[in-house]
């Protein structure tokens, strides 16, 4: 299909989209707006809204908070305030920032030079942009700080590490992770893996664009005007300086240039990260690094690895991907897509590796690869769904025909994969496992408002007993926000074996930042409730994860976790000391 045909198809589809019927319900929208306006007025009368930026709920000691984001300047001030009160702090923010201000520009410049990139290009890389913005944020906060808040030496070191780590290139990032004396926690490991992937992806994007821009100049270097594997090495010194620099810079980050079907592709040179982190992260998570470092897998209908190795990569993906990682492994969806595409060409073959030989029989390399993959496939293998009938068909026809093979569609593979991941996830948690997602929207808020209003009413007990675990967590936030400490206390588990916080402890854990919140939907995206499997005779238990809204300048998601238990009076929160 050429470009013109493609453009024509898109133009026709665009026309067809005009048939999407309009179901615009103007009155309902206006009505909803009026309701919101009224409820906002009530909230505003109760508590004047302050600067929302202060809203960080870091020190809630009842919640184990695992945070996948870097500390914001606000946090410095907030957490520092507590330190100050406790008398631990000794450094002002200006003092904390002094070392960062000295070292950040040096590290940044060293990295830019290592990549041999112009400043304007380097500054445009996504991860550099984020690192620079965090650095500037701290810089401004340090300037404004009048020494009011003090920080401990440990916090000072943490902040230094966090800011400098942001500007690290992919490879040094792995070296930092490997230098950790202990095994990394799951969350830490996932954060390193995601950062490694995205920083490398940033570079690959930049390099591939750059080489595409110079495509004609490079073509002119080869005698037949065609690009191939040899064009670049043979003409290295005749390349424009910018491209020579890019090749060298890419190599410093374990990337090298390949030409596939006359297109430029950057691939990993070796499995650097896998080797470095072998002892630092779990075998399953190590699988993500193996997958990353095999990229790219296919390009323009061509498998970039031999058939057998492609089978191994597919097998690794099947053994690695787990829905529990979806929130933290931020490129999870990209792997799903890559898997479907790779599996498609693994099954139907590609131009360079056709399935059939000249006699019309399936090539031996495919027979071996398919049978190997099937033999090693995990319980929930999407590929096995295809391979079993295909191999059966082929075996019965002396490897010449298979109806199932004829019917393979790439679109279906993605669906099969999604279903298998869900099945595997349900199986992992057994029959008792139950998961539910609640979007924090006006519906949730009005329901929670109803609970809040009735906390002291005659129906409170019955209402609380029926409340879902997510309602209890929502109620916790709302009660803290409005300083209804009696209600907060009521929300904790009261069993003998559990600690119950005193009012002072609750007060201590309440940040002033709660005052800025008028609506939960301003700070939260959604909650996930995961019910753990229950032993016979034991009370039901579960976890509520609150996925906070991403601030515009943040590049990661903040998640807060509550453990809950179902007592006679309904779901209650387990109190734990601050993490």
């Amino acid at each position: 299909m050429d470009d013109k045909q493609f453009e024509d198809r898109m133009r026709l589809l665009k026309k067809s989209y005009d048939r999407v019927p309009s179901q615009f319900q103007q009155e309902e929208i206006i009505e909803q707006i009026e309701i919101e306006k009224q409820s906002q007025t009530v909230d505003l009368i109760r508590k004047p809204r302050k600067n929302r930026q202060k809203l960080t709920i870091w020190a809630i000691s009842i919640a184990s908070i695992f945070v996948i984001s870097i500390l914001g300047a606000t946090f410095i001030l907030e957490s520092d305030k507590e330190n100050n009160q406790g008398g631990k702090g000794q450094y002002t923010l200006a003092e904390v920032f002094k070392d960062v201000e000295k070292d950040y520009p040096i590290t940044r410049e060293k990295n830019r030079k290592l990549l041999k990139m112009k400043e304007e290009d380097f500054a445009e890389l996504d991860f550099v942009k984020v690192a620079d913005s965090k650095y500037n944020m701290y810089k401004n906060a340090a300037k404004k700080d009048a020494g009011k808040y003090l920080m401990s030496a440990k916090e000072k070191a943490n902040i230094y590490d966090q800011i400098i780590k942001r500007i690290q290139l992919p490879l040094p990032l792995i070296v930092i992770a490997a230098s950790n004396p202990k095994k990394l926690s799951e969350s830490e490991a996932k954060k390193y893996i995601s950062d490694y992937y995205f920083r490398t992806e940033d570079l690959v994007n930049y390099y591939e664009n750059l080489f595409s821009d110079y495509k004609e100049e490079i073509k002119a270097l080869s005698k037949d005007g065609q690009l191939n594997e040899q064009t670049i090495p043979m003409n290295r010194e005749r390349l424009p300086q910018e491209l020579q620099d890019a090749i060298e810079g890419a190599r410093s980050q374990n990337l090298h240039l390949k030409v596939v079907n006359s297109k430029f592709v950057f691939a990993y040179l070796n499995d650097f990260a896998v080797k470095k982190l072998r002892d630092k992260i779990s075998d399953r998570l190590l699988g993500y690094l193996t997958i990353i470092e095999k990229a790219p897998y296919s390009y323009d209908a061509t498998l970039l690895h031999p058939v057998e190795e492609t089978g191994n990569i597919l097998n690794t993906i099947e053994r690695t991907l787990n829905l529990v990682d979806k929130e933290e492994i931020t490129f999870f969806n990209a792997i799903e897509y890559d898997y479907a595409e790779m599996a498609f060409y693994f099954l139907i073959g590609s131009n360079e590796h056709p399935v059939f030989d000249k006699k019309g029989k399936v090539n031996q390399e495919y027979r071996d690869a398919w049978q190997n993959v099937l033999a090693r496939s995990p319980k929930y293998s999407p590929l096995a769904v295809y391979l079993e009938p295909i191999i059966r068909d082929f075996q019965s026809t002396n490897w010449t025909t298979s109806e199932n093979w004829e019917n393979v569609l790439s679109i279906d593979i993605k669906k099969v994969m999604e279903n298998k991941l869900k099945e595997a996830s349900l199986d992992n948690f057994g029959d008792e496992y139950y998961e539910d997602l609640t979007i924090i929207n006006s519906e949730f808020e009005s329901q929670n408002h109803m609970y809040l209003k009735n906390t002291l009413g005659p129906n409170a007990k019955a209402l609380f007993k029926e409340a879902k675990a997510t309602d209890i967590v929502g109620l916790y936030y709302n009660s803290m926000r409005l300083k209804h400490f009696d209600t907060v206390l009521e929300l904790y588990a009261k069993g003998k074996q559990y600690d119950i916080p005193s009012e002072e402890q609750i007060m201590k854990n309440r940040l002033e930042s709660f005052e800025d919140v008028t609506r939960l939907s301003d700070i939260m995206e959604y909650m996930i409730f995961i019910q753990s499997s229950t032993e016979k005779g034991e009370p039901e238990k579960g976890i509520v994860r609150v996925i906070m809204k991403k601030e515009a300048k943040e590049d990661s998601i903040r998640v807060e976790e509550f453990q809950l238990i179902k007592e006679d009076v309904g779901w209650r929160i387990l109190y734990t000391e601050a993490q």
């Binding site: 319900q25 969806n333 959604y526």
Partner: protein, 185 residues
């Protein structure tokens, strides 16, 4: 009256101005949501969510191009929708796991995209990873420039270009596999 004028009036509490603004833009939201994969029956919910959200944050609006903001908010609303949708689907699948009965009735989607080749292409677009899907939809069906797409998606210009290129390649491959370019009307 321009978008800017309507917004200024709406910011001052003029609900009629805001109604006019909605009337001018609701089709964009509806079409965009559908193109991003929202079921036609859920489009009214998304449209409501978008316009309520816009009103909620109208006082913060100081950008020049209203539609860029509109696309951003619609995009977030459709993402929420996906999350909810996939969870509900998973629950539904659990419940109907044992049931083997299937009946067929033409979907609302099939009534909108009456030509098979449109359905194929629409499905292929929905199967793209969202990082490829959104640039394609905004570029081809809403005629946004690379710069505008970069702004809506909060992505560098170079990334938008690469993603459009890759998305195009992926779609072309699917179209070739599913009957080639000649399968027109």
């Amino acid at each position: 009256m321009t978008d800017k004028e309507l917004i200024t009036q709406a910011q001052g509490g003029d609900i009629e101005a805001y109604t006019k603004l909605m009337q001018l833009h609701h089709r964009t939201v509806e079409r965009f949501a559908f193109q991003c994969g929202v079921h036609s029956t859920d489009i009214p919910d998304i449209t409501q969510e978008v316009f309520v959200k816009i009103y909620r944050f109208l006082h913060q609006f100081n950008q020049d191009r209203f539609t860029t903001w509109l696309y951003k908010i619609t995009l977030n609303a459709t993402r929420d929708y996906y999350r909810k949708e996939s969870r509900e689907k998973s629950k539904e699948e659990k419940l109907t796991k044992s049931s083997a009965r299937h009946t067929y009735t033409p979907s609302a989607e099939e009534r909108i995209l009456v030509f098979e080749e449109d359905q194929t292409l629409h499905q292929a677009i929905l199967q793209l990873d969202e990082k490829y899907r959104y640039p394609i939809v905004l570029y081809y069906f809403h005629e946004l420039t690379y710069e505008q797409i970069a702004e809506v998606l909060n992505t560098p210009l170079s990334t938008v270009k690469t993603r459009l290129l890759r998305a195009k390649e992926q779609l072309k491959r699917v179209l070739t596999t599913n009957g080639g370019a000649e399968s027109g009307r």
